[in-house]
Amino acid sequence: MNLSFFDQFSSPSLLGIPLVLISTMFPALLIPSMDKRWVTNRLSTLQLWFINLVTKQLMSPLNNKGHKWALILTSLMIFLLLINLLGLLPYTFTPTTQLSMNLALAFPLWLATLLTGLRNQPSTSLGHLLPEGTPTLLIPALILIETTSLLIRPLALGVRLTANLTAGHLLIQLISTATVTLFSTMPAVSLLALLVLFLLTILEIAVAMIQAYVFVLLLSLYLQENV
């Protein structure tokens, strides 16, 4: 019985055909392509406004060389946001609950920021390993600590996204199972559980959006240090 709670995270497949690609590509259907008109339809206008807001917010701390990353960071943000929010609909599959996908997103992008920094300005990038004004005795220990924290960044990025989304989905499933099971015996407790479920769903919507934002924000921060 316990194992059935994790069934929602198994990759969907139909007669052995993996459907995860369709689940991942579905958000692209929700973004209409740009019209050549000045006044577009409401959906395009809303999305354009949102994309402009996101891009300005993400790109303002970066210098001009970092602006080359605007397209990939904004599209990553929209991608993660839509995938996370679509996963909250009933019966849908959330690709970002799979650690493999999140690590595949985090690791190359982090490595790209690191290599950009090391190639173009190696001393400045390495200089970030030692904050200013540290006492001389602490320098070796701090270098080791900062290197470890640098190397663990892609792992942290991927696992953060996976863990937050997976935990949220599991909690929703557990509490809704409790609500349904309790309804026949103790309706009052079931009502309490329903209230908790309602609040949790609101939290999940917020978490879905926040996690996408945090992922991209941290990447832009790593870029800021290195570019």
Partner: protein, 79 residues
């Protein structure tokens, strides 16, 4: 006086039941043809429900509802 339309150009609603088999056989099932059909269907939906002056919530909701139904069909065996 009915206008003489070729079988392969007739719309599905005008095809008589007896002609259905030959109509299906004449349709274009190459990958290019299927892509064209998907593109036409998408344009029909997009221009009718989304690309209008006062598009409402319904245009997007129908797509999401269809996605939910599709996911239910895919995960039916697990329930």
């Amino acid at each position: 006086l009915p206008s003489a339309v070729l079988l392969k150009d007739m719309k599905l609603m005008d095809v008589k039941l007896g002609q259905l088999g030959s109509w299906l056989a004449m349709r274009d099932f190459t990958p290019g043809g299927i892509m064209g059909a998907i593109r036409r269907g998408h344009s029909r939906y997009y221009n009718k429900y989304i690309n209008v002056r006062k598009g409402g919530l319904g245009g997007l909701s129908m797509v999401l509802a269809g996605y939910i139904v599709l996911s239910y069909m895919w995960s039916y065996s697990h329930i």
